[in-house]
Subunit: 140 residues, 2 copies
Protein backbone atom coordinates (compact mmCIF):
# COMPACT_ATOMS: atom_id res chain seq x y z
CA UNK A 1 0.00 0.00 0.00
CA UNK A 2 1.41 3.34 -0.97
CA UNK A 3 1.62 5.30 2.25
CA UNK A 4 2.82 8.48 0.72
CA UNK A 5 1.56 11.62 2.37
CA UNK A 6 1.51 15.20 1.29
CA UNK A 7 1.80 18.49 3.10
CA UNK A 8 -0.68 21.22 2.51
CA UNK A 9 1.21 23.17 -0.11
CA UNK A 10 1.55 20.10 -2.28
CA UNK A 11 -2.13 19.38 -1.90
CA UNK A 12 -2.83 22.93 -2.88
CA UNK A 13 -0.83 22.50 -6.06
CA UNK A 14 -2.45 19.20 -6.89
CA UNK A 15 -6.02 20.28 -6.31
CA UNK A 16 -5.89 23.90 -7.32
CA UNK A 17 -7.40 25.02 -4.04
CA UNK A 18 -5.65 27.57 -1.85
CA UNK A 19 -4.22 26.43 1.43
CA UNK A 20 -6.76 28.63 3.16
CA UNK A 21 -9.62 26.88 1.41
CA UNK A 22 -8.23 23.46 2.28
CA UNK A 23 -8.02 24.40 5.93
CA UNK A 24 -11.47 25.88 5.77
CA UNK A 25 -12.87 22.62 4.45
CA UNK A 26 -11.35 20.94 7.43
CA UNK A 27 -13.11 23.40 9.72
CA UNK A 28 -16.34 22.33 8.05
CA UNK A 29 -15.40 18.68 8.63
CA UNK A 30 -15.33 17.93 4.96
CA UNK A 31 -11.90 16.36 5.41
CA UNK A 32 -9.84 15.28 8.42
CA UNK A 33 -6.19 14.74 7.54
CA UNK A 34 -3.79 13.15 10.00
CA UNK A 35 -1.35 15.32 11.90
CA UNK A 36 2.32 14.95 12.68
CA UNK A 37 3.48 15.32 16.26
CA UNK A 38 4.02 18.98 15.60
CA UNK A 39 0.48 19.15 14.17
CA UNK A 40 1.46 19.53 10.55
CA UNK A 41 -1.39 18.31 8.37
CA UNK A 42 -0.61 15.15 6.40
CA UNK A 43 -2.82 14.22 3.49
CA UNK A 44 -3.07 10.75 2.00
CA UNK A 45 -4.00 9.92 -1.57
CA UNK A 46 -7.47 9.15 -0.29
CA UNK A 47 -7.77 12.60 1.20
CA UNK A 48 -6.74 14.05 -2.11
CA UNK A 49 -9.31 12.01 -3.96
CA UNK A 50 -11.95 13.32 -1.63
CA UNK A 51 -10.81 16.87 -2.15
CA UNK A 52 -10.96 16.36 -5.88
CA UNK A 53 -14.54 15.24 -5.60
CA UNK A 54 -15.32 18.36 -3.63
CA UNK A 55 -13.69 20.50 -6.27
CA UNK A 56 -15.66 18.80 -8.98
CA UNK A 57 -18.91 19.37 -7.15
CA UNK A 58 -17.98 22.97 -6.53
CA UNK A 59 -17.10 23.59 -10.13
CA UNK A 60 -20.51 22.56 -11.24
CA UNK A 61 -21.68 25.63 -9.38
CA UNK A 62 -23.36 27.35 -12.22
CA UNK A 63 -23.78 31.09 -11.96
CA UNK A 64 -23.36 33.97 -9.60
CA UNK A 65 -25.66 36.91 -10.20
CA UNK A 66 -22.78 38.73 -11.84
CA UNK A 67 -22.40 35.87 -14.27
CA UNK A 68 -26.13 35.71 -14.81
CA UNK A 69 -26.06 39.37 -15.70
CA UNK A 70 -23.30 38.84 -18.23
CA UNK A 71 -25.14 35.90 -19.67
CA UNK A 72 -28.36 37.85 -20.11
CA UNK A 73 -26.49 40.80 -21.57
CA UNK A 74 -24.68 38.67 -24.09
CA UNK A 75 -27.99 37.15 -25.03
CA UNK A 76 -29.54 40.57 -25.46
CA UNK A 77 -26.70 41.97 -27.51
CA UNK A 78 -26.82 39.03 -29.83
CA UNK A 79 -30.57 39.37 -30.17
CA UNK A 80 -30.07 42.99 -31.14
CA UNK A 81 -27.56 42.12 -33.79
CA UNK A 82 -29.77 39.40 -35.15
CA UNK A 83 -32.81 41.61 -35.39
CA UNK A 84 -30.82 44.42 -36.99
CA UNK A 85 -29.45 41.81 -39.38
CA UNK A 86 -26.22 43.63 -39.73
CA UNK A 87 -22.88 44.03 -38.10
CA UNK A 88 -19.24 44.02 -39.02
CA UNK A 89 -17.69 40.68 -39.69
CA UNK A 90 -15.18 41.11 -36.89
CA UNK A 91 -17.92 41.91 -34.43
CA UNK A 92 -19.92 38.92 -35.52
CA UNK A 93 -17.00 36.60 -35.15
CA UNK A 94 -16.31 38.06 -31.75
CA UNK A 95 -19.78 37.22 -30.56
CA UNK A 96 -19.61 33.81 -32.13
CA UNK A 97 -16.51 33.06 -30.12
CA UNK A 98 -18.07 34.34 -26.93
CA UNK A 99 -21.12 32.19 -27.40
CA UNK A 100 -19.01 29.16 -28.18
CA UNK A 101 -17.12 29.56 -24.98
CA UNK A 102 -20.37 29.94 -23.06
CA UNK A 103 -21.63 26.73 -24.60
CA UNK A 104 -18.43 24.96 -23.73
CA UNK A 105 -18.57 26.17 -20.15
CA UNK A 106 -22.13 25.02 -19.72
CA UNK A 107 -21.28 21.69 -21.26
CA UNK A 108 -18.52 21.18 -18.73
CA UNK A 109 -20.80 21.99 -15.85
CA UNK A 110 -23.41 19.60 -17.19
CA UNK A 111 -20.81 16.86 -17.45
CA UNK A 112 -19.73 17.31 -13.87
CA UNK A 113 -23.26 17.29 -12.61
CA UNK A 114 -23.98 14.18 -14.65
CA UNK A 115 -20.96 12.42 -13.19
CA UNK A 116 -22.31 13.05 -9.73
CA UNK A 117 -25.70 11.82 -10.84
CA UNK A 118 -24.25 8.62 -12.21
CA UNK A 119 -22.40 8.00 -9.00
CA UNK A 120 -25.75 8.03 -7.21
CA UNK A 121 -27.40 5.89 -9.86
CA UNK A 122 -24.75 3.32 -9.16
CA UNK A 123 -25.29 3.49 -5.42
CA UNK A 124 -29.01 3.20 -5.99
CA UNK A 125 -28.80 0.05 -8.03
CA UNK A 126 -26.44 -1.56 -5.55
CA UNK A 127 -28.69 -0.57 -2.68
CA UNK A 128 -31.72 -1.95 -4.48
CA UNK A 129 -29.99 -5.27 -4.92
CA UNK A 130 -29.16 -5.40 -1.25
CA UNK A 131 -32.69 -4.44 -0.33
CA UNK A 132 -34.12 -7.25 -2.40
CA UNK A 133 -31.75 -9.70 -0.84
CA UNK A 134 -32.57 -8.58 2.68
CA UNK A 135 -36.27 -8.72 1.90
CA UNK A 136 -36.01 -12.36 0.81
CA UNK A 137 -34.06 -13.30 3.88
CA UNK A 138 -36.61 -11.64 6.09
CA UNK A 139 -39.39 -13.66 4.52
CA UNK A 140 -37.48 -16.88 4.93
Amino acid sequence: MSTKTYRIEEVSNITGLTKRAIRYYEDLNLISPQRTESSYRLYTDEDIEKIKRIVSLKESLAFSLAEIKQTLELDQEVENILSAEMAELATLNNYIEMIKSQIKLIGEKVDKLKATGERFEDLLSRLSCLEEKVRKEDVR
Copy 2:
Protein backbone atom coordinates in the same frame (compact mmCIF):
# COMPACT_ATOMS: atom_id res chain seq x y z
CA MET B 1 -51.18 43.76 -26.36
CA SER B 2 -51.76 42.81 -22.77
CA THR B 3 -50.52 45.74 -20.75
CA LYS B 4 -51.15 44.19 -17.39
CA THR B 5 -48.65 45.16 -14.74
CA TYR B 6 -47.83 43.71 -11.36
CA ARG B 7 -46.69 45.15 -8.08
CA ILE B 8 -43.78 43.71 -6.27
CA GLU B 9 -45.62 41.41 -3.90
CA GLU B 10 -47.40 39.75 -6.78
CA VAL B 11 -44.13 39.29 -8.59
CA SER B 12 -42.71 37.79 -5.45
CA ASN B 13 -45.52 35.25 -5.34
CA ILE B 14 -45.20 34.42 -9.00
CA THR B 15 -41.46 34.00 -9.05
CA GLY B 16 -40.80 32.66 -5.58
CA LEU B 17 -38.21 35.33 -4.90
CA THR B 18 -38.47 37.59 -1.88
CA LYS B 19 -39.26 41.25 -2.43
CA ARG B 20 -35.83 42.06 -1.08
CA ALA B 21 -34.17 39.85 -3.67
CA ILE B 22 -36.22 41.39 -6.47
CA ARG B 23 -35.17 44.88 -5.44
CA TYR B 24 -31.60 43.73 -5.13
CA TYR B 25 -31.63 42.45 -8.68
CA GLU B 26 -32.73 45.88 -9.72
CA ASP B 27 -29.77 47.39 -7.88
CA LEU B 28 -27.57 45.10 -9.94
CA ASN B 29 -29.34 46.27 -13.11
CA LEU B 30 -30.62 42.82 -13.90
CA ILE B 31 -34.09 44.28 -14.29
CA SER B 32 -35.52 47.80 -14.59
CA PRO B 33 -39.24 47.89 -13.99
CA GLN B 34 -41.25 51.05 -14.69
CA ARG B 35 -42.37 53.21 -11.82
CA THR B 36 -45.66 54.93 -11.03
CA GLU B 37 -45.64 58.66 -10.23
CA SER B 38 -45.23 57.74 -6.60
CA SER B 39 -42.33 55.46 -7.55
CA TYR B 40 -44.09 52.16 -6.99
CA ARG B 41 -42.41 49.49 -9.09
CA LEU B 42 -44.56 48.13 -11.92
CA TYR B 43 -43.57 44.88 -13.55
CA THR B 44 -44.74 43.77 -16.99
CA ASP B 45 -45.08 40.18 -18.17
CA GLU B 46 -41.78 40.65 -19.93
CA ASP B 47 -40.11 41.65 -16.69
CA ILE B 48 -41.52 38.54 -15.09
CA GLU B 49 -40.23 36.35 -17.89
CA LYS B 50 -36.81 37.81 -17.39
CA ILE B 51 -36.95 37.20 -13.68
CA LYS B 52 -37.98 33.62 -14.32
CA ARG B 53 -34.94 33.15 -16.47
CA ILE B 54 -32.79 34.52 -13.70
CA VAL B 55 -34.39 32.14 -11.23
CA SER B 56 -33.80 29.23 -13.54
CA LEU B 57 -30.16 30.11 -13.92
CA LYS B 58 -29.84 30.58 -10.21
CA GLU B 59 -31.47 27.25 -9.46
CA SER B 60 -28.95 25.44 -11.55
CA LEU B 61 -26.47 26.55 -8.92
CA ALA B 62 -25.31 23.18 -7.87
CA PHE B 63 -23.98 22.90 -4.37
CA SER B 64 -22.94 24.95 -1.40
CA LEU B 65 -20.24 23.42 0.73
CA ALA B 66 -22.92 22.45 3.24
CA GLU B 67 -24.73 20.54 0.52
CA ILE B 68 -21.50 19.01 -0.69
CA LYS B 69 -20.89 17.79 2.81
CA GLN B 70 -24.31 16.18 2.98
CA THR B 71 -23.79 14.62 -0.39
CA LEU B 72 -20.47 13.10 0.59
CA GLU B 73 -21.88 11.89 3.89
CA LEU B 74 -24.82 10.22 2.24
CA ASP B 75 -22.43 8.61 -0.17
CA GLN B 76 -20.24 7.37 2.65
CA GLU B 77 -23.09 6.00 4.72
CA VAL B 78 -24.42 4.08 1.77
CA GLU B 79 -20.97 2.71 1.04
CA ASN B 80 -20.77 1.53 4.63
CA ILE B 81 -24.09 -0.25 4.40
CA LEU B 82 -23.13 -1.81 1.11
CA SER B 83 -19.83 -3.11 2.38
CA ALA B 84 -21.41 -4.43 5.57
CA GLU B 85 -24.02 -6.08 3.36
CA MET B 86 -26.63 -5.76 6.00
CA ALA B 87 -29.13 -3.33 7.38
CA GLU B 88 -32.73 -3.21 8.37
CA LEU B 89 -35.23 -3.07 5.58
CA ALA B 90 -36.63 0.22 6.82
CA THR B 91 -33.16 1.76 6.88
CA LEU B 92 -32.42 0.52 3.42
CA ASN B 93 -35.61 1.92 2.04
CA ASN B 94 -34.88 5.19 3.74
CA TYR B 95 -31.55 5.50 2.01
CA ILE B 96 -33.05 4.42 -1.27
CA GLU B 97 -35.52 7.27 -1.02
CA MET B 98 -32.81 9.76 -0.12
CA ILE B 99 -30.73 8.73 -3.07
CA LYS B 100 -33.68 8.90 -5.39
CA SER B 101 -34.38 12.44 -4.34
CA GLN B 102 -30.71 13.35 -4.85
CA ILE B 103 -30.85 11.91 -8.32
CA LYS B 104 -34.02 13.81 -9.07
CA LEU B 105 -32.50 17.05 -7.83
CA ILE B 106 -29.42 16.63 -9.92
CA GLY B 107 -31.55 15.79 -12.92
CA GLU B 108 -33.47 19.01 -12.52
CA LYS B 109 -30.30 21.06 -12.32
CA VAL B 110 -28.95 19.35 -15.40
CA ASP B 111 -32.16 20.12 -17.26
CA LYS B 112 -31.98 23.77 -16.37
CA LEU B 113 -28.37 24.03 -17.41
CA LYS B 114 -29.16 22.26 -20.64
CA ALA B 115 -32.00 24.65 -21.37
CA THR B 116 -29.57 27.54 -21.07
CA GLY B 117 -27.12 25.71 -23.27
CA GLU B 118 -29.72 25.14 -25.95
CA ARG B 119 -30.66 28.77 -25.88
CA PHE B 120 -27.07 29.61 -26.77
CA GLU B 121 -26.87 26.88 -29.38
CA ASP B 122 -29.81 28.53 -31.06
CA LEU B 123 -28.22 31.96 -30.92
CA LEU B 124 -25.02 30.48 -32.30
CA SER B 125 -26.65 28.94 -35.32
CA ARG B 126 -28.54 32.12 -36.08
CA LEU B 127 -25.38 34.16 -35.67
CA SER B 128 -23.47 31.83 -37.94
CA CYS B 129 -26.08 32.24 -40.65
CA LEU B 130 -25.85 35.98 -40.39
CA GLU B 131 -22.09 35.84 -40.44
CA GLU B 132 -22.09 33.80 -43.62
CA LYS B 133 -24.50 36.18 -45.23
CA VAL B 134 -22.43 39.22 -44.27
CA ARG B 135 -19.29 37.55 -45.49
CA LYS B 136 -20.79 36.97 -48.92
CA GLU B 137 -21.99 40.54 -49.18
CA ASP B 138 -18.57 41.80 -48.24
CA VAL B 139 -17.00 39.83 -51.03
CA ARG B 140 -19.51 41.09 -53.52
